[in-house]
């Protein structure tokens, strides 16, 4: 029996119960199970379309993975056959999507409680958690093996480690345990440029580690600024976000505390083999804006923030997206310029 359409359920607890019930009603076919779920399966039946499964792969996160992995591959000093580069990026993206599906499988209970995530396929009743688990496991194994075959074994193993890190270390273990969850989770999202680099070179280097550091240090202030203006969500879901455990003043301090080392790392990359004038100028401008935003956040209290509906925090959050995109774009530009004999210093 397929899960019923659960979209009308707006109460988070009801959504969680309904998702669990949908999964159990699929496993059991006896009438007692069906009658027990009658209250929530009394609507019409819902059969997932292709798009519902695609949504399990977190397409927006996948786009970040694709872009940063592509940059990692393109700035590497070893050229890769264009077709192998294409399929490698595709399998890295698929691995990222697989970890997204496994994340949604494990977090279906808290996803149902947060406004930002309650329309994801599992809490919305479009896909069962068992299906998400199966899809995630299958795509994980598939993507790692195919990447190892298309590129090299090291890249395949690196992708496997990334999925393990995101699903087991972050999602299952630390996300619900420590307020530093987002710091650990940031590492998983930061690995793709290293994998892209590994596809080309078969190893790691200072440049790929620094590319990792960009996203790693960028992730906490990015999410903490989000947590400041979506303040009730994480508390409702009992996720120990810094805003919940240490308070909002401490979060504002932490944002600045991470923004400064981030500036050091991003500026430091300019001095490596993948940096150059174009990157350096881009980085100086972006860091100036980003530090200014972090200082503005630090100087505000919640009363001032609520008065203008978290205008500064929202602006910092939007800037953070641009910050990451433009830094990696500048690295890509440098690689393009170097191919014409220009980039670098």
């Amino acid at each position: 029996m397929r899960p019923s359409k659960l979209l009308p359920l707006t109460d988070p607890e009801a959504r969680t119960r309904a998702v669990d019930a949908a999964g159990s009603s699929q496993r059991g076919t006896d009438m007692s199970d069906m009658s027990a779920d009658k209250s929530i399966t009394s609507g019409f039946e819902y059969e997932a379309g292709f798009g519902d499964y695609y949504a399990l792969l977190k397409p927006r996160v996948m786009s970040l993975v694709v872009f940063t992995a592509f940059v990692g591959l393109m700035v590497a000093p070893v050229s890769v056959h264009p077709f192998l580069a294409f399929v490698s990026i595709l399998f890295i993206a698929l691995g990222g999507g697989a970890s997204g599906a496994l994340n949604m499988w494990y977090d279906h209970d808290i996803d149902a409680k947060m406004k930002r995530t309650m329309n994801r396929p599992i809490p919305a009743g479009k896909v069962t958690k068992e299906e998400a688990f199966g899809l995630g496991c299958a795509l994980s194994g598939f993507s790692c093996i195919m990447l190892a075959l298309a590129a090299n074994i090291f890249a395949g193993l690196f992708l496997a480690f990334t999925i393990f890190f995101y699903v087991v270390i972050y999602t299952m273990w630390l996300k619900r345990l420590t307020p530093q969850n987002i710091v650990i989770g940031g590492a998983a999202g930061a690995f793709p440029p290293m994998i892209g680099w590994a596809v080309a070179t078969g190893g790691v280097s200072i440049e790929s580690i620094l590319m990792f550091m960009i996203t790693f240090i960028w992730t906490p202030p990015h999410f903490w600024s989000l947590a400041l203006f979506t303040k009730t969500d994480y508390a409702d879901a009992d996720v120990p976000m810094l805003t919940v455990t240490h308070g909002r003043v401490a979060t504002r301090k932490h944002i600045l505390a991470y923004t400064i080392p981030l500036a050091i790392v991003t500026l430091g990359i300019a001095a490596t083999s993948i940096g150059g004038w174009a990157y350096l100028i881009t980085s100086i401008v972006l860091n100036a804006l980003f530090i200014r935003g972090a200082v503005q956040i630090l100087r505000r209290d919640d009363a001032a923030a609520e008065a203008d509906d978290y205008k500064v925090e929202r602006r910092y959050f939007k800037l953070s997206l641009l910050y990451l995109f433009l830094h990696f774009s500048a690295l890509l530009l440098e690689a393009g310029l170097k191919s014409f004999g220009w980039g670098g210093f």
Partner: protein, 62 residues
């Protein structure tokens, strides 16, 4: 037995099957492409090996 057509379910089922079909076709094309590229790359190795020893492919085959 009720044979009433339920358009919404059929539509979704079709989208799922069509999507899966396209994914499988794409996978076949990818594996074929990888194979062609890999074979071409491997095909270059003996030439490089021979060149390092001052031989041509013709000379090596004789």
């Amino acid at each position: 037995m009720d044979l009433r057509v339920e358009h919404e379910i059929h539509k979704r089922r079709f989208s799922r099957n069509a999507g899966l079909g396209l994914v499988l076709a794409a996978f076949v094309a990818l594996v074929f492409g990888i194979t062609v590229v890999k074979v071409n790359i491997i095909g270059d190795v003996p030439e490089a090996y021979n060149a390092s020893r001052g031989l041509t492919n013709e000379g090596a085959s004789e």
